[in-house]
Symmetry: C2
Subunit: 474 residues, 2 copies
């Protein structure tokens, strides 16, 4: 096992400096959704660049050109390399330096862009956990190695983007373009941009569901009508739409479309056994849900429903009345929106076809004179990695060393599309290694990162790189 005590001691010794670094980062309101804040996003990229240069990394701010449909440029991607030793492995890490919008008036207890450290260790501020804390984690790990006089165990490639919270415009192209250039010597990828399943046990994430998002468009009259004048005389698109939407899924979440469950990989006894040990309980779920309106009352069924079975959610309707109050409109054209979370071994095309076939049959059964179109608005593939790869075993050993427990091996119900892009572009194993916990409230008011998760997380990132250097490579 690697000698890590000197490194760990320096992380503890530098804790205040690392919190100060996070304070400086949080103070830059790098909100990517708002073009007016673009100068702050760029300022954040320059802050990272200057910090990385001080640590001796090579850095490039890669411009991505104009943001489509706007008159501002996209923020640059920060590409950096620390170490270039042919005898070391090369790990590519990804994170994002942009943040979700936040205003005190949204209900924050503290100023969102002033990192506030509470007596209980919560460090509150926008971006603290998503994703400035983890991004700075890599810089802090470098610094602590230098302070401890310990050789850095790998070559580190860094890719930090500034547009993640607003669609990662331009990133995929850059990754594919650099796969055989800047990222060419990558041996494995590590992404720190998700969360523990709970608050106590660290986890490693090896799977994500995909997402197929569908529109059902129904139109009839040439323009919106008044229900007093036309109610009872025309076939209303909304009547047809709610009938179709009601045929997709039942209250218990069972998808009614034939050809979906048939594609799902069967549960093996081995997989089923994995769920028993996972640190997760329904009480914590009820708390984060704010209600007890779950479909299942037990942990295993709930986790399986979230990670390894598809689900269908109806999100809303475009074109209908959606305001407060009362409007007596007959909408002329309505677009129902729903999505299916996909899992192994579902196929995007096969799923699209099953949806089209079913929705068209239901619409036909209505005998309506209206016009119906159903089509995918976007699709994204599920992702599952092998948790037996050295990238994962190294991380698991690092977790045991730092936290004294074996990690949960988890999947996520949502999608992190860049994961699949890195896997495809580099052909290498990708590991999701979270720093924050389930109560951090990324995207919510009072976002926080616990001081413990930040400091131990820095130790973990460094330890992970040391174990990577020691793992036998297949």
């Amino acid at each position: 096992a690697p000698q890590l005590n000197g490194y760990f001691q320096q992380v503890d010794a530098l804790a205040d400096a690392f919190i100060e670094r996070l304070r400086q980062a949080v103070a830059i309101p790098s909100i990517s959704a708002d073009p007016a804040r673009r100068p702050d996003v760029v300022r954040m990229a320059k802050f990272l660049e200057s910090e990385l240069i001080k640590l001796g990394a090579q850095v490039e701010l890669r411009e991505l050109g104009r943001q489509p449909g706007s008159d501002v440029n996209l923020p640059p991607v920060v590409l950096a390399r620390y170490g270039n030793d042919k005898n070391k492995r090369t790990i590519l890490v990804y994170g994002h330096y942009d943040v979700q919008p936040a205003e005190k008036s949204d209900g924050w207890d503290t100023e969102p862009f002033e990192l506030t450290v509470m007596p209980d260790g919560r460090m509150c501020g926008r971006g603290a956990t998503d994703d400035k804390g983890p991004v700075l984690g890599w810089l802090n790990a470098i610094q602590a190695h230098q302070a401890a006089g310990i050789d850095f165990p790998v070559n580190l490639l860094m890719c930090f983007e500034g547009m993640e919270e607003y669609g990662s415009e331009g990133l995929d192209d850059l990754i594919y373009e650099e796969a055989k250039k800047f990222f060419a010597d990558t041996d494995a990828v590590c992404i720190s941009d998700n969360y523990w399943l709970g608050t106590e046990r660290p986890c490693l994430t090896y799977g994500l569901r995909g997402c197929n998002y569908y529109n059902i468009e129904i139109s009839g009259p040439g323009a919106d009508l008044h229900s007093g004048v036309f109610g009872g005389t025309v076939e209303e698109p909304m009547t047809d739409l709610v009938r179709i939407l009601s045929s997709l899924v039942d209250t218990n979440g069972k998808i009614q479309i034939p050809g979906i469950y048939e594609q799902v990989a069967p549960v093996t006894p081995e997989e089923e056994g994995l769920y028993d040990d996972i640190s997760f309980n329904m009480e914590t779920l009820y708390e984060s849900l704010g209600s007890k309106t779950t479909i299942y009352d037990d942990k295993k069924k709930t986790l399986m429903a979230r990670w390894r079975f598809p689900s269908l959610s109806i999100h809303g309707i475009e074109g209908a009345f959606s305001g407060a109050g009362a409007k007596t409109v007959i909408p002329a054209k309505v677009i129902g929106k729903f999505s299916i979370r996909t899992v192994p071994n579902m196929d995007i095309e096969k799923t699209n076809e099953a949806v089209s076939r079913y929705v068209e049959a239901v619409f036909k059964s209505l005998g309506s004179k209206n016009t119906m179109k159903v089509y995918p608005q976007h699709t994204g593939m599920w992702w599952v990695a092998s948790p037996n790869h050295w990238n994962f075993t190294a991380a698991a050993k690092a977790i045991e060393r730092v936290w004294g427990v074996k990690p949960d091996f988890t999947r996520e119900g949502g999608s992190i599309p860049v994961t699949l892009t890195f896997e495809k572009a580099t052909g290498k194993n990708v590991l999701l290694l979270p720093m924050g916990s389930s109560t951090d409230g990324a995207h919510s008011i009072n976002e926080k990162l616990d001081k413990r998760n930040y400091i131990e997380g820095i130790k973990l990132l460094g330890a992970y790189l040391h174990y990577v250097a020691e793992e036998p490579m297949e």
Copy 2:
């Protein structure tokens, strides 16, 4: 029959002056929905006041106080009396001097607040037909009588409001308060604020449907959820809502709620005969609809569905995703909005109970853990008057005299709530006497009033008052 030729000649002679008066009125953008335009609405009231004073009427601008929820005053109601002869009948007329919003950029071919007279006689401008043309019709009728030196046949009470397009706030209270005061000697009421059924035959309207507007509120989680994290594990309020909405009505407009059709007055053979002669054809309907997506292909069934049978329309959903694009939200609380158009002899309370009972039973059958509430957001009674009353027979004779045809006796599918208020408050017969035609496009871009409808309409209003003076009173 009354001597009307001198009056008609003066209406023709003054046609340009009457169009000029309409031009001045249209030029005042008296948009009641926008508090910032309130000074223009008040300016319109003062314009009417000054025109009425010039004609020798007594006028009062009655203030209604602060607009609830805003920091501006409601526009005044213009109350006026022309003539106070105990030996004459007294007719109370109602109209509104406010208009719908309009901007050239909405797609108007002309400036909405500049009256533009086209070579084919269309007079385009916001408010031309709804309702400034009809309101000025009464003033023009007075002026033409004076020019012809013909004694005005009745005492005319006028009630012109400035808030009709935004809820008629405060008007009902005023009507009830003045019923035994300013409106005390009213013998009958005439409202000119609706339209012919088509473009060729004038009509008299003796019925309106009512409207019960319902909310179905379903809530589960404490806040909106991400479908990646929670899809498949929680019972989603949208799933329940679309199932309930889909159970209300079918594609052919048939209401599925027991206890609705049971309340509808049966069709008598006499009533059925009325429909054959009505000037209405499906081609015109298809044109105004912009499609052929009607439930029925024949005139009689279509008119009956619009006038004398209830209908149910689903208007939209509050709280769900309603924008363009894709959002993977699981809405925590959604409110479905639908309304039922009511007809004789439906009872508001009985209908509310039938809706509650049915929706609650459907929700119960879902076995959902979510919470559901169903309640009426507002209700308004249907209205039917006797078309055999002297108020109607006088108007029918006037139409034959001016237009040379017998009028259609029509109902409307929509509601004009002030009609019922006047009937209840005064206890007198109310007549709806439209000036414009079905193609006028009130509330749309390119609103217009045909010059022919305006000028002949002024003749009609005057003629109606002469026939009123001659009718035997029961």
